[in-house]
C-alpha cells in the first residue's frame, strides 16, 4: 500500500500559500516546511512496559525561512492562527526584535545569495506494508511480551530482556512561490536486548536490531534477532580485555558502516567546509583510501530509515559518490552551504524536527562491495580481530582522527577464529591510514539504521550506514 500523505497538511496548503505570498512582499525569499508525522514507540520487558504515541520523529509544525539583503532568518511554530495577515505581522515583529539586538551589538551578517526557486512540483507516497497509526497494538504488545519472556528463558544469565520498537509515518510539505513538494513514507526500527551479570558482577549486554523503510511489518524480523542473543551473551560473558596494540582487523557490515559514517560522513559535511572546519576540503581529487575504497552517500542509496524523496529544504534526494576507488570526489551539502560554496546542493539538508535549524547531514553512508568472501578474509589474517557490535563513534573532521567504541572483537590467529572474544574494543586511528589499509572487501553488503546521529552533541536525526566486510589495520585498546 501507499503511505498516504497527511490530510492535515493538505488542508493547510491554502493558508501556507497565503503566508508565502504576504511574506514575499517583504523578503527576497520565502519557504515553508510543514510536517505531520505520527507513530508509536513500545518498550516491553519483564519488569517494565510502556507504549507511547510519541517517538523521536513524531511531530506537527512548520518553519518559515526568509531572506532579506543576504540575511537568512527562520521562524518555527506549532500553532497556525486563522489570519495569515496578522500572523505574517507577528513573524516579522519577532524577527525584528532579534534584528534590533543584532544592531545594538554591531553584528554583521554573513552575506549569502538568494536561494534559487525554480518551479517544481512533486508528490511521493512510498510503499509500506502497514501504517503505524493503524497497527494492531494489542497483537504487537502480546508478541513483544512473548519475545521478552523467551529472551529471559534462552539467554544465559539474563536478568531481563527488553524488546522495543518505533515506527513513524512521516508527511512533509515544502512550499515556496514556485515549488510545491509533498512526500510521505514510513520507517520502522526495533531491537531486542538482554542483560545479565558476568562472574565479576559486571552487567553485560547483548542486543540485535532491525530497521528499514516500511511499516510495522518489518518488526517480524525481531523474532530472528532474538534468536541471536544467547550466543551474543555467551560471548560477552566470557569476553576478556584486549591487549592494546595495532592489529589486522576485519569489520563486519555494521562496523564498516560506523567507519563510513565517522570517517567520510561527518568529514565531508560541506557546511563544515564553509566554516573551514573540515580537512576534506583540501583533499578533493586526492587519495584518501585504497583502490578498494568506494563510498556513496544519499537518501537514494538504500531503502532505509532515511530514504526520503526530498530534504528539509526542498532539494531532491541524491546519491553522491564521495570516494571513488580511494579518491575523494566530493562531499554532501545543504542548500545554504551550497550557495556559499558555489556548488549544487546534494539533498542532505536535514532538521532534527521542524523547530530546528537545517544542517548538512548524512542519510545512507555506504561502502561499495568487493570481491572476497568472508572466509578468504579471515584466512588471510595472521593475528587480528573480527570487529562487531556498534556502541558509539566520534570523528575529528579537522584532523581525521576517529574513535569507535565496539562491543566485541573475535580473535583471529593464523587464518582462523580462535573462539576468544574481547570486549569492549576502542578503535582509534587516522582516517586515511584506516581507509588506505583496506585490502579486502566482501561481496555482500548490509545497511543498518538503528539509533540516531548528532551534530556535535545535539541535532539528532535518523541516519543509516553500512557496507561489506572490510579488512584493514587499526589500533585497538
Amino acid at each position: 500500500m501507499k503511505a498516504p500523505f497527511s490530510q492535515y497538511l493538505e488542508g493547510i496548503v491554502p493558508k501556507l500559500r497565503k503566508l508565502v505570498d504576504i511574506l514575499s512582499q517583504s523578503f527576497d525569499y520565502v519557504s515553508i516546511l510543514s510536517t505531520d508525522s505520527v507513530g508509536f514507540q513500545i518498550h516491553i520487558s519483564q519488569r517494565s512496559k510502556s507504549v507511547s504515541g510519541t517517538n523521536m520523529t513524531t511531530e506537527r509544525g512548520s518553519v518559515v525561512r526568509v531572506c532579506r539583503g543576504g540575511q537568512y532568518s527562520e521562524y518555527a511554530f506549532s500553532l497556525l492562527p486563522d489570519s495569515m495577515e496578522e500572523f505574517a505581522g507577528q513573524i516579522q515583529h519577532q524577527l525584528e526584535a532579534q534584528f534590533a539586538i543584532l544592531k545594538l551589538t554591531g553584528t554583521r551578517a554573513y552575506d549569502t545569495p538568494v536561494l534559487p526557486d525554480e518551479p517544481l512540483e512533486l508528490f511521493v507516497e512510498k510503499e509500506t506494508g502497514r501504517l503505524p497509526e493503524q497497527e494492531d497494538m494489542k497483537a504487537l504488545v502480546e508478541r513483544f511480551l512473548k519475545l521478552s519472556q523467551r529472551g529471559v528463558s534462552i539467554v544465559p544469565r539474563a536478568l531481563d530482556c527488553l524488546v522495543n520498537a518505533s515506527s513513524t509515518h512521516i508527511s512533509k510539505l515544502f512550499l515556496t512561490k514556485n515549488r510545491f513538494l509533498r512526500q510521505s513514507y514510513v520507517y520502522t526500527e526495533g531491537a531486542c536486548a538482554a542483560f545479565g551479570p558476568n562472574d565479576a558482577g559486571e552487567i553485560k549486554f547483548a542486543n540485535e536490531g532491525i530497521s528499514g523503510c516500511g511499516g510495522p511489518e518489518l518488526l517480524e524480523g525481531l523474532n530472528a534477532a532474538l534468536e541471536k542473543l544467547p550466543k551474543r551473551m555467551e560471548e560477552m560473558l566470557s569476553a576478556e580485555k584486549i591487549v592494546p596494540g595495532e592489529y589486522e582487523i576485519i569489520t563486519d557490515p555494521g562496523i564498516s558502516g560506523l567507519i563510513a559514517h565517522e570517517a567520510f560522513g561527518h568529514g565531508v559535511e560541506m557546511d563544515m567546509f564553509v566554516k573551514k572546519r573540515a580537512l576534506g576540503a583540501d583533499y578533493i581529487g586526492k587519495r584518501v583510501g585504497s583502490e578498494l575504497c568506494t563510498m556513496h552517500e544519499g537518501a537514494l542509496c538504500a531503502n532505509s530509515v532515511t530514504a526520503y524523496a526530498f530534504d528539509d529544504e526542498g532539494t531532491l534526494a541524491g546519491d553522491v559518490t564521495e570516494i571513488d576507488h580511494g579518491i575523494l570526489k566530493t562531499g554532501i551539502c545543504d542548500a545554504l552551504a551550497a550557495l556559499r560554496l558555489g556548488i549544487a546542493p546534494t539533498g542532505n539538508g536535514k532538521r532534527q524536527n521542524f523547530a530546528h535549524k537545517v544542517y548538512t547531514r548524512m542519510t545512507n553512508t555506504v561502502f561499495d562491495s568487493g570481491s572476497s568472501t568472508l572466509e578468504e578474509m579471515i584466512a588471510s589474517v595472521k593475528h587480528g580481530y573480527l570487529l562487531s557490535g556498534t556502541q558509539s563513534g566520534m570523528e575529528d573532521p579537522k584532523h581525521w582522527g576517529i574513535q569507535c567504541i565496539i562491543s566485541r572483537g573475535y580473535e583471529i590467529k593464523d587464518g582462523a577464529l580462535t573462539g576468544k572474544v574481547v570486549s569492549p574494543v576502542i578503535m582509534t586511528g587516522y582516517v586515511p591510514d584506516l581507509l588506505g589499509g583496506i585490502c579486502m572487501a566482501s561481496t555482500d553488503r548490509e545497511v543498518h539504521g538503528n539509533g540516531a546521529c548528532g551534530k556535535g552533541y545535539k541535532e539528532f536525526v535518523k541516519v543509516a550506514d553500512g557496507g561489506p566486510y572490510l579488512k584493514t589495520k587499526a589500533r585497538l585498546g
Binding site: 492535515y8 519488569r47 517494565s48 512496559k49 510502556s50 507504549v51 507511547s52 504515541g53 513524531t58 506537527r60 540575511q71 532568518s73 527562520e74 521562524y75 518555527a76 511554530f77 506549532s78 500553532l79 526584535a97 532579534q98 534584528f99 539586538i101 543584532l102 551589538t105 553584528t107 554583521r108 551578517a109 554573513y110 497494538m137 494489542k138 504488545v141 502480546e142 536478568l159 542483560f195 565479576a200 558482577g201 552487567i203 553485560k204 549486554f205 592494546p244 566554516k275 573551514k276 572546519r277 523547530a355 535549524k357 558509539s392 566520534m394 570523528e395 575529528d396 579537522k398 582522527g401 574513535q403 567504541i405 569492549p424 576502542i426 582509534t428 556535535g456 552533541y457 589500533r475 585498546g477
Partner: protein, 424 residues
C-alpha cells in the same frame, strides 16, 4: 486547551491521568567567525498526555502520547481514545500518582533579548589573537513554561530559562590548524565564566599544536580536570536511580557501600532542586513531585535514591522525585596535592564516556599533559579505558569544586591505574 482535554479524558471514563503542557519560546543565533549565519525564533506548544486504567490482579495500565496544538476536535478524541485503549495493553504493578498539593512559584521573567545581548557581547569581546580565535558559535536561549496537572488535583506552573552556547575555537601554527569544540549550558549568560572557559580552550588549542604521540603507558593514573569528569559522577547518580535498581541494572541499595576496601576519597553525592544559573532549576519534577534536596551517597555509602514515581513506589519509597541538579562534595586533598607525582591529565577527548550500566570507561585522547619524572609533555592520540568498579576504591578528588551547569563536581578527579594505550 488543557481544561478541554481534561474534559475529554473524563468523558472517556478515565479517572487517572496526567497532563503536561510545555510552551517554549526560543531565540537562536548562529555565527560563522563573528558574522551572523542565521537568526531563528521558535514559538512552540506541546501537550503530553498519560492515561491510566486499573486492570485485573492489581495491575495498572498506562499509555501516553502528544496532542498537537493544531489538532481538530476529532483528532483529539481519536488520540485520547487510542491512548486509553493502549493503556489497557500495558500491565504494570499498580502505583499512585503524586497527590500533595503544590503552590506554583511566581513565574520567572525571562528576558531573551537581554540574555542574547549578553551572549553576543561576550563573544565579540573575547581576547583572540592571530593564531588563536573563534571559528563559529551557536547561541540558544529558551524560555520554558511547564504547566502540569493530574487527576489527584496536583496543578503547578513553572517558568525557567535554559541556554546553551556551542563554540568551536581554532589555533594555528603555519599551515597547521586545529579546532576544539565546547558546549556550555546554563540558565542565562554568565559572561565572565564563559569568557574564562573559552579563553582556556584557546590556550588548550595552542598546546594542541605542539603535541607528540601519547606513549604506551599501560596502567597509569589519569587526572580529569574538565567537564568530561561529569561522566564519572553521572555513573554514581545513575546507580542510585530507582528505575535502574528496580530493573536490576543497578544493585546499589541504601546502606550499601559503593565499593569495598576504599583507600581513596569516599564520595558524597547530593541531589538538589536548584543550582545557581543551572539550565534546569525548578522546584517540581515532571510528575508533580516536590524536588527535595537530599544526600544520595554519604561518605561512600548509599543513603537515598531518586527517580521516577512509578519505580520509587515499587521499591516502597514515597518521597522520591526526578532530579536534574547534583552536587559532589570535595575530597580530602587539594588540587595541588593531587597534582603531585606521575599522572596523565587529559583535557580533550574525542568523546569521553563512562557507561552508566556497565561502568566501562573509554575515550580517545585529543590533548593531554603527561606529567612523568618531573617533566611535562603535551600529548595526543591513544586512548584511556577502564572500569568504574575497579577505579572507585582508589579514586581521589580535590577539595575544590567547580560547577558545570547542572553539576557541581570536584575540580580535579584522579582515577588510578587506567589503561592508557599509545605509541609503542
Amino acid at each position: 486547551m488543557l481544561k478541554h482535554i481534561e474534559a475529554q479524558i473524563k468523558a472517556l471514563g478515565c479517572g487517572v491521568w496526567e497532563l503536561r503542557e510545555e510552551s517554549t519560546r526560543a531565540w537562536e543565533f548562529y555565527f560563522i567567525r563573528h558574522a551572523l549565519d542565521q537568526n531563528r525564533v521558535s514559538e512552540l506548544n506541546t501537550i503530553f498526555v498519560t492515561l491510566y486504567r486499573p486492570l485485573e490482579d492489581g495491575m495498572l495500565g498506562s499509555a501516553s502520547g502528544e496532542i498537537f496544538p493544531t489538532a481538530s476536535e476529532a483528532e483529539i478524541q481519536k488520540a485520547l481514545s487510542d491512548i486509553y485503549f493502549q493503556a489497557s495493553l500495558v500491565k504494570n504493578p499498580s502505583y499512585r500518582l503524586n497527590d500533595k498539593p503544590l503552590v506554583s512559584p511566581a513565574l520567572q521573567e525571562v528576558d531573551s533579548a537581554a540574555i542574547a545581548k549578553d551572549f553576543i557581547s561576550t563573544m565579540s569581546q573575547l581576547r583572540e589573537t592571530e593564531t588563536e580565535d573563534v571559528n563559529s558559535y551557536e547561541i540558544f536561549i529558551r524560555e520554558i513554561t511547564r504547566h502540569y496537572r493530574n487527576s489527584n488535583g496536583v496543578d503547578y506552573t513553572v517558568r525557567y530559562p535554559s541556554s546553551m552556547i556551542e563554540v568551536v575555537v581554532n589555533a594555528r601554527k603555519g599551515e597547521h590548524e586545529i579546532e576544539l569544540y565546547r558546549n556550555f549550558q546554563s540558565g542565562t549568560c554568565d559572561g565572565e565564566k564563559l569568557r574564562r572557559d573559552i579563553e582556556k580552550a584557546l590556550q588548550y588549542g595552542k598546546d594542541r599544536l605542539v603535541t607528540e604521540p601519547t606513549p604506551m603507558l599501560n596502567q597509569f593514573d589519569v587526572l580529569f580536570s574538565t567537564g568530561d569528569a561529569r561522566s564519572i559522577y553521572r555513573y554514581f547518580a545513575a546507580k542510585t536511580m530507582v528505575d535502574l535498581i528496580f530493573q536490576k541494572v543497578s544493585d546499589w541499595t541504601p546502606g550499601k557501600p559503593v565499593a569495598e576496601s576504599v583507600q581513596g576519597d569516599r564520595i558524597t553525592l547530593q541531589a538538589v532542586s536548584t543550582l545557581k544559573n543551572s539550565s534546569a532549576s525548578y522546584p517540581f519534577d515532571e510528575e508533580g513531585a516536590v524536588i527535595r534536596d537530599r544526600t544520595l551517597i554519604r561518605d561512600g555509602v548509599v543513603e537515598a535514591l531518586w527517580g521516577h514515581r512509578r519505580f520509587s513506589q515499587y521499591l516502597g519509597l514515597e518521597d522520591c522525585s526526578m532530579v536534574k541538579n547534583f552536587v559532589v562534595k570535595g575530597g580530602a586533598h587539594s588540587e595541588a596535592e593531587l597534582r603531585q607525582g606521575d599522572y596523565l591529565e587529559v583535557v580533550e577527548f574525542s568523546d569521553f564516556q563512562v557507561d552508566p550500566i556497565s561502568g566501562d570507561i573509554a575515550g580517545e585522547i585529543r590533548l593531554g599533559y603527561l606529567h612523568q619524572n618531573g617533566q611535562v609533555r603535551v600529548v595526543s592520540s591513544g586512548s584511556v579505558s577502564g572500569q568504574m568498579a575497579a577505579a572507585i576504591p582508589t579514586m581521589e578528588f580535590s577539595s575544590e569544586t567547580e560547577q558545570y551547569d547542572t553539576a557541581v563536581i570536584p575540580r580535579v578527579t584522579k582515577l588510578k591505574n587506567l589503561n592508557v594505550t599509545g605509541q609503542e
